[in-house]
């Protein structure tokens, strides 16, 4: 029997050897991505660079949202709040006192914010931390409930943040929003954050902590009976997700340079929900694929909202909002025929990828 253990350990050491190969392959892939982005930054036009930036921001948001909704299985509806917190706090940090004076025309900005001005990197981190601290405080009441109730409570919190942003005239400039935010965000920042988010969350999910989160998703009763503090683990996933969502919000604000409470409605959360459900709840790979498809797809679908001339015979007038109708149809179709999303709970693995070439199809590793 001891021999069996030795055999299994040997097999695991072999897979540990594969781990080194996987690390090298991952580094090569990241290198290729960086090269491609560098070329894109050099030669692509502004419109396509904007899309690439949005893709990276949506990857960050979807992967961190999936950590709490998919991996931990706690259905929550609040990321618009965290994105708003990150966007507002980072923007207020980077805007110069002069810009603030020009923005706050109805009521002057509160003194403790009016004279602050910090570089972009600390502002991003402050954006992330603001969201994370809020998530931590919010976690105590909301994780007293589960399931549908959790969804409703978090939805409420998301709306509260938006309403607060709308009414705290002296801090957020109310419905006027903030204009003239410096456009610091570029491909390096957005993709750097996306890769950092992926690195941290993938490592966490593949560790003992990730197994604990999945255990809470699969059977909270059993997890607690095994000594796992489910409340603390939910709080961990929630806070970490909020940290990255807040940073993504900071990036977003410094990309579009104008923010107002209207930008952070439930619609933002809904878009992210479409992404993670379409990609597969619990699959980080699925979130990445769906984030790319969604962001790119919604740009391609802009065509349907513009007047179209069909072969010179007649003209279809553009219907604003038609994109969302098409997305809804796609989502319904996916829920009918592809119930688990693109990836289900499976993840990309090099083992599977190399198997595609050697003809041995082993299937993606389930996590």
């Amino acid at each position: 029997m001891k021999d069996d253990i030795r055999f299994i350990r040997a097999r695991q050491r072999w897979s540990a050897g594969n781990r080194r190969r996987n690390t090298i392959l991952t580094l090569i892939a990241v290198g290729l991505l960086c090269g491609a982005l560098f070329l894109a930054g050099r030669f692509a036009d502004e419109y396509h660079i904007r899309i690439l930036n949005m893709v990276a921001i949506y990857i960050t948001l979807a992967v961190s949202y999936n950590l709490i909704n998919g991996i931990t299985g706690q259905f929550s509806l609040e990321p618009n709040a965290f994105v708003a917190l990150g966007a507002y706090s980072a923007s207020l940090m980077t805007m110069t006192p002069l810009e603030k004076e020009m923005n706050f025309i109805i009521d002057p900005c509160v003194p403790w914010l009016a004279h602050v001005c910090v570089p972009f990197l600390p502002a991003i981190i402050i954006g992330g931390l603001t969201a994370a601290i809020f998530a931590l405080l919010m976690g105590f009441p909301v994780f007293r409930v589960r399931g549908d109730y959790l969804a409703i409570v978090t939805l409420g919190f998301g709306e509260v943040i938006r309403v607060v942003a709308n009414n705290m005239q002296t801090v957020t400039n109310g419905p006027l929003g903030l204009k003239g935010i410096a456009m610091y965000t570029d491909l390096r920042w957005t993709w750097g954050l996306a890769l950092l988010t992926l690195f941290v969350i993938v490592r966490l999910v593949n560790s003992s902590y990730g197994r604990a989160l999945k255990a809470i998703r699969e059977n909270e009763l059993a997890a607690e009976s095994m000594g796992i503090n489910s409340f603390r683990h939910k709080l961990l996933a929630f806070t970490l997700a909020a940290f990255f969502e807040g940073m993504a919000g900071a990036m977003l604000a410094h990309l579009i340079t104008t923010i107002s409470p209207m930008l952070f409605t439930f619609f933002l959360t809904f878009n992210l929900l479409i992404i993670i459900v379409l990609g597969g709840l619990g699959s980080l790979t699925g979130s990445v694929i769906a984030a790319i498809a969604f962001t790119w797809g919604s740009e391609l679908l802009r065509a349907v909202e513009e007047p179209t001339n069909v072969f010179g015979w007649f003209t279809i007038p553009g219907i604003p909002g038609m994109r969302m109708v098409i997305f809804a149809v796609i989502l319904i179709a996916a829920m009918l025929f592809w119930r688990e999303g693109i990836m289900g709970r499976k993840e990309f693995s090099w083992q599977w990828f190399l198997g595609l070439f050697s003809g041995k199809h082993k299937g993606a590793k389930s996590i």
């Binding site: 253990i5 299994i8 350990r9 003992s208 059977n219 009763l221 009976s225 095994m226």
Partner: protein, 262 residues
């Protein structure tokens, strides 16, 4: 010496129903005690109170580890960390995770590394994970599940799932093990295997065991002492031989009319 676990006047009321009434239990170190009674007698409710799943309406539960600890009001995960592990009447595994991962989960509550240790790839975390894998494989070997380490837990046969649940409880390093109908749904061969395994682990891990079971062969063959519950009331306590002949117990199980007919 004070008993390992002592409950005093443990009572659980659900609205007007008293599910468990003034339950007194003294478990000495190393004992194997059976908790029996007809369906709905309140046996599982007792387990749920001992493990923190239910908060008793009144009464106290004291566990003697380094010193006496009052368990009423503690959360299930805290009670598990103090040394009480359990299995469930309806098996509660993590069905989509592997057999090995199911056992490794039991280590997580004792993990010393903070959450950022695996993210940074610290060697201290890697050592802990290695120890986790080694320990889990050894435990799986003990219950003949080693070959199935990589299988999905939900795909296991019923008897194997039962054994996996026991070994997972063991992996949390308990001093007291609570088994809720471990032999339910098993054939005689599987029951015999289970009895052997329980005897072995009890000796090797110096465990105290409290077991709920309906299989009388199992109870009579294994338990040193029995407690009989009926409608939440403790109707008898004593050696298996005494319980077998106890009038009240026979009435509880077979009913008044049947006895009258005899």
């Amino acid at each position: 010496m004070a008993p390992l676990l002592e409950t005093r006047n443990l009572t659980m009321r659900f609205g007007g129903l008293t599910a468990v009434d003034n339950f007194d239990l003294r478990l000495e170190q190393g004992e194997l005690v059976g908790l029996i009674g007809p369906n709905g007698a309140g046996k599982t409710t007792v387990f749920n109170m001992l493990t923190g799943r239910l908060r008793p309406s009144s009464g106290s539960i004291t566990l003697q580890t380094d010193g006496p600890v009052e368990l009423v009001g503690l959360k299930p995960n805290r009670i598990n960390r103090l040394g009480i592990a359990r299995t469930f009447q309806n098996i509660q595994l993590l069905p989509e995770m592997s057999v090995l991962e199911n056992v490794m989960m039991a280590w997580h509550g004792r993990l010393k590394s903070p959450f950022w240790a695996p993210i940074l790839g610290l060697p201290s975390y890697r050592r802990e994970e290695e120890a986790m894998i080694d320990g889990s494989l050894e435990l799986l070997d003990r219950v003949d599940l080693l070959e199935l380490a990589d299988a999905e837990a939900g795909s296991l046969a019923y008897g194997q799932q039962r054994r996996l649940e026991i070994v997972r409880a063991l992996a949390t390093r308990p001093v007291l093990l609570l088994l809720d109908e471990p032999a339910a749904g098993m054939n005689p061969n599987e029951t015999n295997d289970l009895m052997r395994i329980i005897t072995e682990i009890r000796k090797d891990f110096s465990l105290t065991i409290l077991v709920i079971e309906h299989d009388m062969k199992f109870v009579m063959g294994l338990c040193e002492r029995l407690i009989v519950l009926d409608h939440g009331v403790t109707i008898a306590k004593g050696l298996p031989e005494e319980i077998r002949k106890n009038e009240q117990v026979i009435t509880a199980y077979l009913g008044e009319r049947r006895r009258a007919a005899d």
